[in-house]
Amino acid sequence: MLEELSSMEALIAVIIGVLTACGVYLALRARTFPVVIGLTLLSYAVNLFLFITGRLTVGLPAVISDQAAGYADPLPQALVLTAIVISFAMTAFIIMLALKARAELGTDQVDGRLDAEDARDARGGEHG
Protein backbone atom coordinates (compact mmCIF):
# COMPACT_ATOMS: atom_id res chain seq x y z
CA MET A 1 0.00 0.00 0.00
CA LEU A 2 2.83 2.34 0.89
CA GLU A 3 4.43 1.68 -2.48
CA GLU A 4 1.15 2.34 -4.26
CA LEU A 5 0.85 5.69 -2.52
CA SER A 6 4.33 6.86 -3.35
CA SER A 7 3.90 6.04 -7.04
CA MET A 8 0.55 7.85 -6.92
CA GLU A 9 2.27 10.85 -5.35
CA ALA A 10 4.85 10.87 -8.12
CA LEU A 11 2.13 10.67 -10.74
CA ILE A 12 0.13 13.56 -9.25
CA ALA A 13 3.28 15.65 -8.92
CA VAL A 14 4.13 15.03 -12.58
CA ILE A 15 0.58 15.91 -13.64
CA ILE A 16 0.66 19.19 -11.73
CA GLY A 17 4.07 19.96 -13.20
CA VAL A 18 2.98 19.25 -16.78
CA LEU A 19 -0.25 21.25 -16.38
CA THR A 20 1.68 24.20 -14.97
CA ALA A 21 4.32 24.05 -17.69
CA CYS A 22 1.70 23.93 -20.44
CA GLY A 23 -0.26 26.71 -18.74
CA VAL A 24 2.76 29.00 -18.50
CA TYR A 25 3.75 28.29 -22.10
CA LEU A 26 0.27 29.02 -23.44
CA ALA A 27 -0.22 32.09 -21.23
CA LEU A 28 2.87 33.60 -22.83
CA ARG A 29 1.47 33.28 -26.37
CA ALA A 30 0.56 36.35 -28.37
CA ARG A 31 -3.11 35.63 -29.07
CA THR A 32 -5.96 35.76 -26.61
CA PHE A 33 -7.31 32.24 -27.15
CA PRO A 34 -4.12 30.39 -26.12
CA VAL A 35 -3.69 32.84 -23.22
CA VAL A 36 -7.16 32.02 -21.91
CA ILE A 37 -6.51 28.27 -22.28
CA GLY A 38 -3.16 28.72 -20.54
CA LEU A 39 -4.71 30.52 -17.59
CA THR A 40 -7.36 27.79 -17.37
CA LEU A 41 -4.67 25.08 -17.31
CA LEU A 42 -2.85 27.02 -14.58
CA SER A 43 -6.02 27.13 -12.51
CA TYR A 44 -6.49 23.35 -13.02
CA ALA A 45 -2.96 22.79 -11.83
CA VAL A 46 -3.43 24.91 -8.73
CA ASN A 47 -6.78 23.29 -7.93
CA LEU A 48 -5.19 19.86 -8.06
CA PHE A 49 -2.33 21.14 -5.95
CA LEU A 50 -4.69 22.57 -3.32
CA PHE A 51 -6.62 19.31 -3.27
CA ILE A 52 -3.59 17.23 -2.36
CA THR A 53 -2.27 19.63 0.28
CA GLY A 54 -4.22 17.42 2.71
CA ARG A 55 -1.94 14.56 1.55
CA LEU A 56 -2.99 11.47 -0.39
CA THR A 57 -4.73 8.95 1.79
CA VAL A 58 -6.48 5.66 1.11
CA GLY A 59 -9.70 4.51 2.73
CA LEU A 60 -9.91 7.11 5.48
CA PRO A 61 -13.33 8.34 6.62
CA ALA A 62 -14.37 11.85 5.63
CA VAL A 63 -15.48 12.98 9.09
CA ILE A 64 -14.18 12.29 12.56
CA SER A 65 -15.54 9.18 14.16
CA ASP A 66 -14.51 7.86 17.54
CA GLN A 67 -13.31 4.56 16.13
CA ALA A 68 -11.30 5.87 13.19
CA ALA A 69 -7.55 6.03 13.50
CA GLY A 70 -7.41 9.08 11.26
CA TYR A 71 -9.56 11.00 8.83
CA ALA A 72 -9.17 12.73 5.49
CA ASP A 73 -8.37 16.44 5.91
CA PRO A 74 -11.64 18.26 5.08
CA LEU A 75 -10.15 21.75 4.76
CA PRO A 76 -8.37 21.35 1.37
CA GLN A 77 -11.66 20.10 -0.06
CA ALA A 78 -13.40 23.26 1.10
CA LEU A 79 -10.54 25.39 -0.20
CA VAL A 80 -10.50 23.72 -3.60
CA LEU A 81 -14.25 24.15 -3.98
CA THR A 82 -13.89 27.87 -3.35
CA ALA A 83 -10.94 28.06 -5.72
CA ILE A 84 -12.81 26.18 -8.46
CA VAL A 85 -15.81 28.50 -8.23
CA ILE A 86 -13.62 31.60 -8.36
CA SER A 87 -11.46 30.36 -11.24
CA PHE A 88 -14.58 29.34 -13.15
CA ALA A 89 -16.04 32.83 -12.81
CA MET A 90 -12.75 34.43 -13.77
CA THR A 91 -12.41 32.20 -16.84
CA ALA A 92 -15.92 33.12 -17.96
CA PHE A 93 -15.06 36.79 -17.48
CA ILE A 94 -11.80 36.68 -19.43
CA ILE A 95 -13.45 34.79 -22.31
CA MET A 96 -16.06 37.54 -22.61
CA LEU A 97 -13.32 40.15 -22.37
CA ALA A 98 -11.30 38.42 -25.08
CA LEU A 99 -14.35 38.41 -27.36
CA LYS A 100 -14.95 42.09 -26.63
CA ALA A 101 -11.30 42.86 -27.35
CA ARG A 102 -11.56 40.99 -30.67
CA ALA A 103 -14.60 43.11 -31.56
CA GLU A 104 -13.20 46.45 -30.39
CA LEU A 105 -9.62 46.11 -31.57
CA GLY A 106 -10.26 44.09 -34.72
CA THR A 107 -7.59 41.56 -33.81
CA ASP A 108 -7.07 38.81 -31.27
CA GLN A 109 -3.48 39.92 -30.64
CA VAL A 110 -3.07 40.56 -26.90
CA ASP A 111 -1.49 43.97 -27.57
CA GLY A 112 -4.20 44.90 -30.06
CA ARG A 113 -1.64 45.24 -32.86
CA LEU A 114 -2.45 43.98 -36.32
CA ASP A 115 0.07 41.48 -37.64
CA ALA A 116 0.62 39.75 -41.00
CA GLU A 117 -2.07 37.16 -40.43
CA ASP A 118 -4.68 39.77 -39.53
CA ALA A 119 -3.82 41.73 -42.65
CA ARG A 120 -4.30 38.60 -44.75
CA ASP A 121 -7.65 37.95 -43.04
CA ALA A 122 -8.74 41.52 -43.72
CA ARG A 123 -7.82 41.21 -47.40
CA GLY A 124 -9.65 37.91 -47.66
CA GLY A 125 -12.65 39.55 -46.06
CA GLU A 126 -12.65 42.34 -48.61
CA HIS A 127 -12.48 39.97 -51.55
CA GLY A 128 -15.00 37.56 -50.14
Binding site: T53, I86, M90, K100, E104, V110
Partner: protein, 509 residues
Amino acid sequence: MNHEVIAPVLFPLFAATLLLLLRRVMPLRTRRSLNLVALVIQILLVSVLVKSVLGGEILVYALGNWPAPYGIVMVADRLSVWMLLVTSLLAFFAMLYAVRGTDAGSRHFHPLFQLQLFGLSGAFLTGDLFNLFVFFEILLLASYALLLHRGGANRVRAGLHFVALNLAGSTLFLFAVGTLYAILGTLNMADLAVKAAATPPENLGVVRAAGLLLFVVFALKAALIPLYLWLPAAYSSTSAPVAALFAIMTKVGAYSILRVYTLIFGAEAGPVANLIGPWLLPLALATMAIGTLGVLAAHELRRQVAYLVVVSVGFLLTAFALGTEASIGAGLYYLAHTTFAAAAFFLLADIIAMGRGTLADRLDPGPIIANANLVGALFFITAILVTGLPPLSGFVGKYMVLSAAVDLPSMPWVFGVILTAGLFGVIALARSGSLLFYRAEGPIERTGASGRHAIGPNWGRLLPVIGLLLLCVALVVWAGPLFDYTRATAEQLLQPSLYIRAVLGEPQS
Protein backbone atom coordinates in the same frame (compact mmCIF):
# COMPACT_ATOMS: atom_id res chain seq x y z
CA MET B 1 -19.65 39.29 20.52
CA ASN B 2 -18.57 42.57 19.04
CA HIS B 3 -20.47 43.00 15.78
CA GLU B 4 -19.02 46.39 14.90
CA VAL B 5 -15.94 44.62 13.49
CA ILE B 6 -17.84 42.95 10.69
CA ALA B 7 -20.23 45.83 10.00
CA PRO B 8 -17.89 47.66 7.53
CA VAL B 9 -17.61 44.41 5.54
CA LEU B 10 -21.28 43.50 5.48
CA PHE B 11 -22.71 46.96 4.95
CA PRO B 12 -21.27 47.53 1.43
CA LEU B 13 -22.47 44.07 0.43
CA PHE B 14 -25.93 44.99 1.66
CA ALA B 15 -25.82 48.34 -0.14
CA ALA B 16 -24.63 46.67 -3.35
CA THR B 17 -27.48 44.15 -3.23
CA LEU B 18 -29.98 46.91 -2.56
CA LEU B 19 -28.69 49.03 -5.45
CA LEU B 20 -28.78 46.04 -7.74
CA LEU B 21 -32.37 45.16 -6.84
CA LEU B 22 -33.65 48.73 -6.97
CA ARG B 23 -32.25 49.45 -10.41
CA ARG B 24 -35.57 48.93 -12.15
CA VAL B 25 -37.71 50.63 -9.54
CA MET B 26 -35.70 53.76 -8.87
CA PRO B 27 -34.46 56.44 -11.24
CA LEU B 28 -30.72 57.05 -11.47
CA ARG B 29 -30.99 60.22 -9.35
CA THR B 30 -32.37 58.32 -6.36
CA ARG B 31 -29.79 55.56 -6.67
CA ARG B 32 -27.03 58.15 -6.76
CA SER B 33 -28.23 59.69 -3.50
CA LEU B 34 -28.70 56.25 -2.01
CA ASN B 35 -25.13 55.28 -2.84
CA LEU B 36 -23.77 58.51 -1.37
CA VAL B 37 -25.80 57.96 1.81
CA ALA B 38 -24.47 54.39 1.99
CA LEU B 39 -20.91 55.71 1.71
CA VAL B 40 -21.53 58.22 4.52
CA ILE B 41 -22.89 55.41 6.70
CA GLN B 42 -19.76 53.41 5.85
CA ILE B 43 -17.60 56.31 7.07
CA LEU B 44 -19.64 56.44 10.30
CA LEU B 45 -19.33 52.67 10.83
CA VAL B 46 -15.57 52.92 10.41
CA SER B 47 -15.44 55.91 12.78
CA VAL B 48 -17.12 53.80 15.47
CA LEU B 49 -14.42 51.19 14.93
CA VAL B 50 -11.70 53.86 15.14
CA LYS B 51 -12.94 54.81 18.59
CA SER B 52 -12.79 51.18 19.70
CA VAL B 53 -9.21 50.53 18.64
CA LEU B 54 -7.81 53.91 19.65
CA GLY B 55 -6.52 52.60 22.95
CA GLY B 56 -4.60 49.76 21.28
CA GLU B 57 -7.20 47.01 21.67
CA ILE B 58 -7.24 44.31 19.02
CA LEU B 59 -10.83 43.30 18.34
CA VAL B 60 -11.42 39.76 17.14
CA TYR B 61 -14.67 38.61 15.56
CA ALA B 62 -15.03 34.85 15.18
CA LEU B 63 -17.47 34.05 12.38
CA GLY B 64 -20.10 31.57 13.50
CA ASN B 65 -18.48 31.72 16.94
CA TRP B 66 -15.99 29.03 16.01
CA PRO B 67 -12.86 29.62 18.05
CA ALA B 68 -9.66 30.50 16.18
CA PRO B 69 -7.69 28.81 14.63
CA TYR B 70 -10.51 26.42 13.56
CA GLY B 71 -12.98 29.07 12.47
CA ILE B 72 -12.43 32.15 10.37
CA VAL B 73 -11.73 35.38 12.21
CA MET B 74 -11.97 39.07 11.35
CA VAL B 75 -9.42 41.15 13.20
CA ALA B 76 -9.59 44.91 13.66
CA ASP B 77 -6.39 46.47 14.93
CA ARG B 78 -5.07 49.99 14.42
CA LEU B 79 -3.62 49.20 10.98
CA SER B 80 -6.81 47.65 9.56
CA VAL B 81 -8.95 50.49 10.84
CA TRP B 82 -6.58 53.15 9.48
CA MET B 83 -6.78 51.53 6.04
CA LEU B 84 -10.57 51.29 6.30
CA LEU B 85 -10.84 54.95 7.21
CA VAL B 86 -8.71 56.04 4.24
CA THR B 87 -10.69 53.76 1.91
CA SER B 88 -14.13 54.93 3.01
CA LEU B 89 -13.22 58.64 2.78
CA LEU B 90 -11.67 58.11 -0.65
CA ALA B 91 -14.69 56.14 -1.87
CA PHE B 92 -17.06 58.92 -0.82
CA PHE B 93 -15.23 61.61 -2.82
CA ALA B 94 -14.72 59.33 -5.83
CA MET B 95 -18.46 58.65 -5.87
CA LEU B 96 -19.22 62.35 -5.44
CA TYR B 97 -17.35 62.88 -8.72
CA ALA B 98 -18.87 59.84 -10.43
CA VAL B 99 -22.47 61.00 -9.87
CA ARG B 100 -21.70 64.00 -12.12
CA GLY B 101 -22.23 61.84 -15.19
CA THR B 102 -19.53 59.16 -15.18
CA ASP B 103 -21.93 56.59 -13.81
CA ALA B 104 -24.40 56.92 -16.68
CA GLY B 105 -24.20 54.51 -19.59
CA SER B 106 -23.62 51.39 -17.54
CA ARG B 107 -26.27 49.60 -15.57
CA HIS B 108 -24.21 48.29 -12.74
CA PHE B 109 -21.75 51.03 -11.86
CA HIS B 110 -23.25 51.68 -8.42
CA PRO B 111 -23.47 48.05 -7.21
CA LEU B 112 -19.97 47.37 -8.54
CA PHE B 113 -18.59 50.36 -6.67
CA GLN B 114 -20.04 49.03 -3.41
CA LEU B 115 -18.78 45.52 -4.16
CA GLN B 116 -15.30 46.92 -4.66
CA LEU B 117 -15.61 48.52 -1.23
CA PHE B 118 -16.81 45.17 0.16
CA GLY B 119 -13.70 43.43 -1.16
CA LEU B 120 -11.39 46.18 0.12
CA SER B 121 -12.90 46.22 3.63
CA GLY B 122 -12.77 42.44 3.82
CA ALA B 123 -9.14 42.32 2.72
CA PHE B 124 -8.19 44.82 5.42
CA LEU B 125 -10.10 43.09 8.21
CA THR B 126 -9.56 39.40 7.60
CA GLY B 127 -7.29 37.37 9.85
CA ASP B 128 -7.13 34.38 7.58
CA LEU B 129 -4.77 33.95 4.65
CA PHE B 130 -7.22 32.08 2.42
CA ASN B 131 -9.91 34.64 3.14
CA LEU B 132 -7.45 37.31 2.09
CA PHE B 133 -7.31 35.51 -1.26
CA VAL B 134 -11.11 35.40 -1.49
CA PHE B 135 -11.47 39.11 -0.72
CA PHE B 136 -8.70 39.89 -3.22
CA GLU B 137 -10.73 38.07 -5.86
CA ILE B 138 -13.90 39.97 -4.89
CA LEU B 139 -12.22 43.34 -5.14
CA LEU B 140 -10.47 42.32 -8.36
CA LEU B 141 -13.63 41.10 -10.05
CA ALA B 142 -15.37 44.36 -9.18
CA SER B 143 -12.32 46.31 -10.33
CA TYR B 144 -12.23 44.52 -13.72
CA ALA B 145 -15.78 45.61 -14.41
CA LEU B 146 -15.17 49.15 -13.13
CA LEU B 147 -11.98 49.44 -15.17
CA LEU B 148 -13.86 48.53 -18.34
CA HIS B 149 -16.77 50.82 -17.49
CA ARG B 150 -18.07 52.41 -20.70
CA GLY B 151 -15.62 50.43 -22.87
CA GLY B 152 -13.45 51.83 -25.63
CA ALA B 153 -10.43 50.27 -27.37
CA ASN B 154 -7.83 51.59 -24.91
CA ARG B 155 -9.73 50.41 -21.87
CA VAL B 156 -10.31 46.97 -23.33
CA ARG B 157 -6.64 46.56 -24.23
CA ALA B 158 -5.45 47.70 -20.79
CA GLY B 159 -8.21 45.66 -19.14
CA LEU B 160 -7.17 42.47 -20.91
CA HIS B 161 -3.60 42.82 -19.62
CA PHE B 162 -4.83 43.70 -16.13
CA VAL B 163 -7.16 40.70 -15.94
CA ALA B 164 -4.67 38.18 -17.38
CA LEU B 165 -1.89 39.36 -15.06
CA ASN B 166 -4.11 39.25 -12.00
CA LEU B 167 -5.37 35.77 -12.89
CA ALA B 168 -1.77 34.59 -13.04
CA GLY B 169 -1.20 36.38 -9.73
CA SER B 170 -4.18 34.61 -8.15
CA THR B 171 -2.76 31.27 -9.25
CA LEU B 172 0.55 32.08 -7.57
CA PHE B 173 -1.31 33.20 -4.45
CA LEU B 174 -3.10 29.83 -4.27
CA PHE B 175 0.16 27.92 -4.77
CA ALA B 176 1.73 29.88 -1.91
CA VAL B 177 -1.27 29.44 0.40
CA GLY B 178 -1.49 25.73 -0.46
CA THR B 179 2.18 25.20 0.29
CA LEU B 180 1.90 26.99 3.63
CA TYR B 181 -1.12 24.90 4.54
CA ALA B 182 0.53 21.66 3.46
CA ILE B 183 3.58 22.31 5.64
CA LEU B 184 2.17 24.25 8.60
CA GLY B 185 -1.37 22.89 8.70
CA THR B 186 -3.18 26.17 9.30
CA LEU B 187 -4.32 29.28 7.44
CA ASN B 188 -5.12 31.56 10.36
CA MET B 189 -2.51 34.31 10.25
CA ALA B 190 -1.87 34.33 14.00
CA ASP B 191 -1.59 30.56 14.07
CA LEU B 192 0.65 30.65 10.99
CA ALA B 193 2.94 33.04 12.85
CA VAL B 194 3.23 30.59 15.75
CA LYS B 195 3.75 27.58 13.50
CA ALA B 196 6.18 29.34 11.17
CA ALA B 197 8.37 30.33 14.10
CA ALA B 198 8.58 26.67 15.06
CA THR B 199 9.34 25.33 11.55
CA PRO B 200 11.62 22.29 11.76
CA PRO B 201 14.84 22.70 9.76
CA GLU B 202 13.89 20.14 7.09
CA ASN B 203 10.83 22.21 6.09
CA LEU B 204 12.55 25.57 6.25
CA GLY B 205 13.24 25.80 2.53
CA VAL B 206 9.65 25.12 1.51
CA VAL B 207 8.21 27.63 3.98
CA ARG B 208 10.64 30.28 2.83
CA ALA B 209 9.77 29.57 -0.81
CA ALA B 210 6.06 29.92 -0.03
CA GLY B 211 6.71 33.16 1.85
CA LEU B 212 8.66 34.62 -1.06
CA LEU B 213 5.97 33.47 -3.51
CA LEU B 214 3.44 35.41 -1.45
CA PHE B 215 5.73 38.42 -1.70
CA VAL B 216 5.67 38.14 -5.50
CA VAL B 217 1.86 38.19 -5.42
CA PHE B 218 1.68 41.20 -3.13
CA ALA B 219 4.37 42.96 -5.16
CA LEU B 220 2.20 42.49 -8.25
CA LYS B 221 -0.76 44.08 -6.48
CA ALA B 222 1.38 46.88 -5.10
CA ALA B 223 3.02 47.49 -8.51
CA LEU B 224 6.56 46.99 -7.27
CA ILE B 225 9.33 46.78 -9.85
CA PRO B 226 9.45 44.71 -12.09
CA LEU B 227 5.73 43.95 -11.75
CA TYR B 228 4.44 47.52 -12.19
CA LEU B 229 4.02 47.47 -15.97
CA TRP B 230 0.26 46.92 -15.86
CA LEU B 231 -0.40 50.02 -13.79
CA PRO B 232 0.26 53.03 -16.07
CA ALA B 233 -1.88 51.69 -18.92
CA ALA B 234 -4.72 50.54 -16.68
CA TYR B 235 -4.92 53.69 -14.56
CA SER B 236 -4.50 56.17 -17.38
CA SER B 237 -7.11 54.62 -19.64
CA THR B 238 -9.94 54.10 -17.17
CA SER B 239 -12.57 56.66 -16.15
CA ALA B 240 -11.49 59.29 -13.59
CA PRO B 241 -13.49 58.25 -10.48
CA VAL B 242 -12.45 54.65 -10.98
CA ALA B 243 -8.80 55.67 -11.28
CA ALA B 244 -9.28 57.72 -8.10
CA LEU B 245 -10.70 54.71 -6.28
CA PHE B 246 -7.87 52.57 -7.64
CA ALA B 247 -5.44 54.83 -5.77
CA ILE B 248 -6.17 52.55 -2.80
CA MET B 249 -5.67 49.32 -4.80
CA THR B 250 -1.88 49.46 -4.83
CA LYS B 251 -2.06 50.16 -1.10
CA VAL B 252 -3.84 46.84 -0.60
CA GLY B 253 -0.64 45.19 -1.81
CA ALA B 254 1.43 47.42 0.46
CA TYR B 255 -0.90 46.61 3.38
CA SER B 256 -0.58 42.87 2.75
CA ILE B 257 3.20 43.12 2.62
CA LEU B 258 3.21 45.04 5.88
CA ARG B 259 0.79 42.66 7.58
CA VAL B 260 2.26 39.34 6.49
CA TYR B 261 5.91 40.29 6.83
CA THR B 262 5.55 41.81 10.28
CA LEU B 263 3.23 39.12 11.61
CA ILE B 264 4.09 35.77 10.01
CA PHE B 265 7.62 36.43 8.81
CA GLY B 266 8.42 39.28 11.19
CA ALA B 267 11.25 39.84 13.64
CA GLU B 268 9.92 37.32 16.16
CA ALA B 269 9.50 34.52 13.63
CA GLY B 270 12.65 32.60 14.58
CA PRO B 271 14.08 30.70 11.60
CA VAL B 272 12.00 32.56 9.00
CA ALA B 273 12.44 36.02 10.51
CA ASN B 274 12.82 39.03 8.20
CA LEU B 275 12.25 36.91 5.13
CA ILE B 276 12.02 39.76 2.63
CA GLY B 277 14.44 42.05 4.50
CA PRO B 278 17.16 41.92 1.84
CA TRP B 279 14.71 42.34 -1.06
CA LEU B 280 12.24 45.01 -0.14
CA LEU B 281 14.42 48.10 0.24
CA PRO B 282 16.37 47.80 -3.05
CA LEU B 283 13.19 46.95 -4.96
CA ALA B 284 11.28 49.86 -3.42
CA LEU B 285 14.08 52.32 -4.23
CA ALA B 286 14.34 50.98 -7.79
CA THR B 287 10.56 51.37 -8.16
CA MET B 288 10.88 55.03 -7.19
CA ALA B 289 13.69 55.57 -9.68
CA ILE B 290 11.92 53.87 -12.59
CA GLY B 291 8.61 55.52 -11.74
CA THR B 292 10.31 58.91 -11.81
CA LEU B 293 11.66 58.19 -15.29
CA GLY B 294 8.10 57.38 -16.33
CA VAL B 295 6.84 60.66 -14.85
CA LEU B 296 9.46 62.55 -16.88
CA ALA B 297 8.73 60.67 -20.10
CA ALA B 298 4.92 60.67 -20.02
CA HIS B 299 3.14 62.40 -22.90
CA GLU B 300 -0.25 62.52 -21.26
CA LEU B 301 -1.18 64.01 -17.92
CA ARG B 302 -3.11 60.95 -16.76
CA ARG B 303 -0.20 58.65 -17.58
CA GLN B 304 2.05 61.01 -15.65
CA VAL B 305 -0.23 60.75 -12.61
CA ALA B 306 -0.25 56.95 -12.98
CA TYR B 307 3.57 56.96 -12.84
CA LEU B 308 3.36 59.22 -9.79
CA VAL B 309 1.34 56.42 -8.17
CA VAL B 310 4.22 54.04 -8.94
CA VAL B 311 6.65 56.50 -7.34
CA SER B 312 4.46 56.77 -4.25
CA VAL B 313 4.34 52.96 -3.93
CA GLY B 314 8.13 52.92 -4.03
CA PHE B 315 8.25 55.61 -1.37
CA LEU B 316 5.73 53.84 0.83
CA LEU B 317 7.53 50.51 0.67
CA THR B 318 10.86 52.22 1.30
CA ALA B 319 9.38 53.52 4.55
CA PHE B 320 8.05 50.06 5.42
CA ALA B 321 11.32 48.39 4.46
CA LEU B 322 13.35 50.50 6.88
CA GLY B 323 11.41 48.58 9.50
CA THR B 324 11.73 50.91 12.49
CA GLU B 325 8.78 52.15 14.48
CA ALA B 326 9.28 55.73 13.30
CA SER B 327 9.64 54.83 9.62
CA ILE B 328 6.58 52.54 9.48
CA GLY B 329 4.55 55.17 11.35
CA ALA B 330 5.67 57.84 8.89
CA GLY B 331 4.91 55.48 6.00
CA LEU B 332 1.35 54.97 7.21
CA TYR B 333 0.85 58.71 7.53
CA TYR B 334 2.21 59.11 3.99
CA LEU B 335 -0.13 56.34 2.79
CA ALA B 336 -3.20 58.41 3.65
CA HIS B 337 -1.70 61.53 2.08
CA THR B 338 -0.63 59.86 -1.15
CA THR B 339 -3.98 58.10 -1.61
CA PHE B 340 -5.96 61.32 -1.33
CA ALA B 341 -3.48 63.35 -3.39
CA ALA B 342 -3.30 60.82 -6.23
CA ALA B 343 -7.09 60.53 -6.31
CA ALA B 344 -7.47 64.32 -6.45
CA PHE B 345 -4.91 64.45 -9.25
CA PHE B 346 -6.75 61.83 -11.33
CA LEU B 347 -10.01 63.76 -10.98
CA LEU B 348 -8.31 67.06 -11.80
CA ALA B 349 -6.62 65.54 -14.86
CA ASP B 350 -10.04 64.49 -16.07
CA ILE B 351 -11.42 68.02 -15.59
CA ILE B 352 -8.46 69.46 -17.51
CA ALA B 353 -8.82 66.86 -20.27
CA MET B 354 -12.51 67.67 -20.67
CA GLY B 355 -11.73 71.38 -20.96
CA ARG B 356 -9.30 70.87 -23.83
CA GLY B 357 -11.57 69.29 -26.42
CA THR B 358 -9.75 67.01 -28.82
CA LEU B 359 -6.35 67.67 -27.22
CA ALA B 360 -7.61 65.92 -24.07
CA ASP B 361 -4.80 65.40 -21.59
CA ARG B 362 -1.92 65.27 -24.08
CA LEU B 363 0.92 67.47 -22.91
CA ASP B 364 0.92 69.76 -25.96
CA PRO B 365 0.32 73.50 -25.85
CA GLY B 366 -3.31 74.19 -26.56
CA PRO B 367 -6.07 76.73 -26.05
CA ILE B 368 -6.86 78.36 -22.73
CA ILE B 369 -9.33 76.23 -20.86
CA ALA B 370 -12.41 77.73 -19.27
CA ASN B 371 -11.90 78.92 -15.71
CA ALA B 372 -8.13 78.43 -16.06
CA ASN B 373 -7.31 80.44 -12.92
CA LEU B 374 -9.20 78.17 -10.59
CA VAL B 375 -8.21 74.90 -12.27
CA GLY B 376 -4.61 76.10 -12.52
CA ALA B 377 -4.55 76.97 -8.83
CA LEU B 378 -5.87 73.52 -7.95
CA PHE B 379 -3.25 71.95 -10.24
CA PHE B 380 -0.56 73.97 -8.46
CA ILE B 381 -1.73 72.86 -5.00
CA THR B 382 -2.01 69.22 -6.09
CA ALA B 383 1.46 69.32 -7.64
CA ILE B 384 2.89 70.72 -4.39
CA LEU B 385 1.17 67.92 -2.48
CA VAL B 386 2.32 65.14 -4.76
CA THR B 387 5.94 66.24 -5.06
CA GLY B 388 6.21 66.76 -1.32
CA LEU B 389 7.06 70.45 -1.17
CA PRO B 390 6.30 72.42 2.00
CA PRO B 391 3.91 73.35 3.54
CA LEU B 392 1.45 70.55 2.73
CA SER B 393 1.15 66.94 3.87
CA GLY B 394 3.48 65.48 1.25
CA PHE B 395 6.32 67.42 2.81
CA VAL B 396 5.38 66.32 6.34
CA GLY B 397 5.28 62.66 5.30
CA LYS B 398 8.53 62.86 3.38
CA TYR B 399 10.29 64.71 6.19
CA MET B 400 9.19 62.10 8.74
CA VAL B 401 10.41 59.19 6.60
CA LEU B 402 13.73 60.90 5.95
CA SER B 403 14.23 61.73 9.62
CA ALA B 404 13.50 58.09 10.45
CA ALA B 405 16.23 57.03 8.02
CA VAL B 406 18.98 59.36 9.28
CA ASP B 407 20.61 56.90 11.68
CA LEU B 408 20.25 53.79 9.53
CA PRO B 409 23.10 52.28 7.49
CA SER B 410 21.04 52.53 4.30
CA MET B 411 20.75 56.31 4.79
CA PRO B 412 22.77 57.46 1.70
CA TRP B 413 20.71 55.34 -0.70
CA VAL B 414 17.39 56.32 0.81
CA PHE B 415 18.22 60.02 0.89
CA GLY B 416 19.74 59.96 -2.58
CA VAL B 417 16.83 58.28 -4.30
CA ILE B 418 14.04 60.10 -2.44
CA LEU B 419 15.50 63.56 -2.91
CA THR B 420 16.42 63.00 -6.58
CA ALA B 421 12.99 61.57 -7.32
CA GLY B 422 11.44 64.59 -5.60
CA LEU B 423 13.49 67.00 -7.70
CA PHE B 424 12.60 65.29 -10.98
CA GLY B 425 8.96 65.14 -9.91
CA VAL B 426 8.98 68.92 -9.43
CA ILE B 427 10.62 69.44 -12.83
CA ALA B 428 8.14 67.17 -14.63
CA LEU B 429 5.07 68.71 -13.03
CA ALA B 430 6.35 72.26 -13.55
CA ARG B 431 6.72 71.43 -17.24
CA SER B 432 3.23 69.92 -17.42
CA GLY B 433 1.72 72.88 -15.60
CA SER B 434 3.35 75.45 -17.83
CA LEU B 435 2.37 73.52 -20.97
CA LEU B 436 -1.22 73.23 -19.84
CA PHE B 437 -1.78 76.67 -18.38
CA TYR B 438 0.89 79.16 -19.58
CA ARG B 439 1.69 78.28 -23.17
CA ALA B 440 -1.95 78.39 -24.12
CA GLU B 441 -2.47 79.23 -27.76
CA GLY B 442 -5.23 79.07 -30.36
CA PRO B 443 -8.96 78.85 -29.90
CA ILE B 444 -10.65 75.86 -28.34
CA GLU B 445 -11.34 73.22 -30.95
CA ARG B 446 -14.89 72.43 -29.95
CA THR B 447 -15.52 69.43 -32.09
CA GLY B 448 -12.83 67.34 -33.66
CA ALA B 449 -12.49 64.06 -35.44
CA SER B 450 -13.48 62.17 -32.32
CA GLY B 451 -16.40 64.50 -31.76
CA ARG B 452 -15.22 65.47 -28.28
CA HIS B 453 -16.58 68.70 -26.95
CA ALA B 454 -14.65 70.95 -24.63
CA ILE B 455 -16.56 71.08 -21.36
CA GLY B 456 -15.70 73.70 -18.81
CA PRO B 457 -15.34 72.77 -15.16
CA ASN B 458 -18.37 73.14 -12.94
CA TRP B 459 -18.57 73.21 -9.16
CA GLY B 460 -20.06 69.75 -9.05
CA ARG B 461 -16.88 68.34 -10.53
CA LEU B 462 -14.49 70.62 -8.66
CA LEU B 463 -16.04 69.96 -5.25
CA PRO B 464 -14.71 66.38 -4.85
CA VAL B 465 -11.23 67.55 -5.87
CA ILE B 466 -11.35 70.37 -3.34
CA GLY B 467 -12.69 67.93 -0.73
CA LEU B 468 -9.76 65.55 -1.26
CA LEU B 469 -7.30 68.46 -1.09
CA LEU B 470 -8.93 69.62 2.15
CA LEU B 471 -8.41 66.13 3.57
CA CYS B 472 -4.69 66.58 2.82
CA VAL B 473 -4.80 69.95 4.57
CA ALA B 474 -6.47 68.25 7.53
CA LEU B 475 -3.58 65.78 7.53
CA VAL B 476 -1.23 68.74 8.07
CA VAL B 477 -3.38 70.55 10.64
CA TRP B 478 -3.83 67.41 12.77
CA ALA B 479 -0.42 65.96 11.87
CA GLY B 480 0.48 65.61 15.56
CA PRO B 481 -2.38 63.39 16.76
CA LEU B 482 -2.48 61.48 13.46
CA PHE B 483 1.23 60.72 13.59
CA ASP B 484 0.81 59.61 17.20
CA TYR B 485 -1.84 57.19 15.94
CA THR B 486 0.23 55.83 13.03
CA ARG B 487 3.28 55.54 15.27
CA ALA B 488 1.25 53.58 17.81
CA THR B 489 0.09 51.43 14.87
CA ALA B 490 3.70 50.71 13.96
CA GLU B 491 4.48 49.89 17.59
CA GLN B 492 1.57 47.44 17.61
CA LEU B 493 2.75 45.88 14.33
CA LEU B 494 6.28 45.34 15.55
CA GLN B 495 4.98 43.31 18.49
CA PRO B 496 3.22 40.47 16.67
CA SER B 497 2.79 38.64 19.98
CA LEU B 498 0.00 41.11 20.85
CA TYR B 499 -1.92 40.13 17.71
CA ILE B 500 -1.30 36.44 18.25
CA ARG B 501 -2.47 36.60 21.86
CA ALA B 502 -5.60 38.53 20.89
CA VAL B 503 -6.58 35.94 18.27
CA LEU B 504 -5.50 32.68 19.87
CA GLY B 505 -5.89 33.58 23.54
CA GLU B 506 -3.26 33.16 26.22
CA PRO B 507 -0.72 30.38 25.56
CA GLN B 508 -1.71 27.17 27.34
CA SER B 509 1.72 26.31 28.71
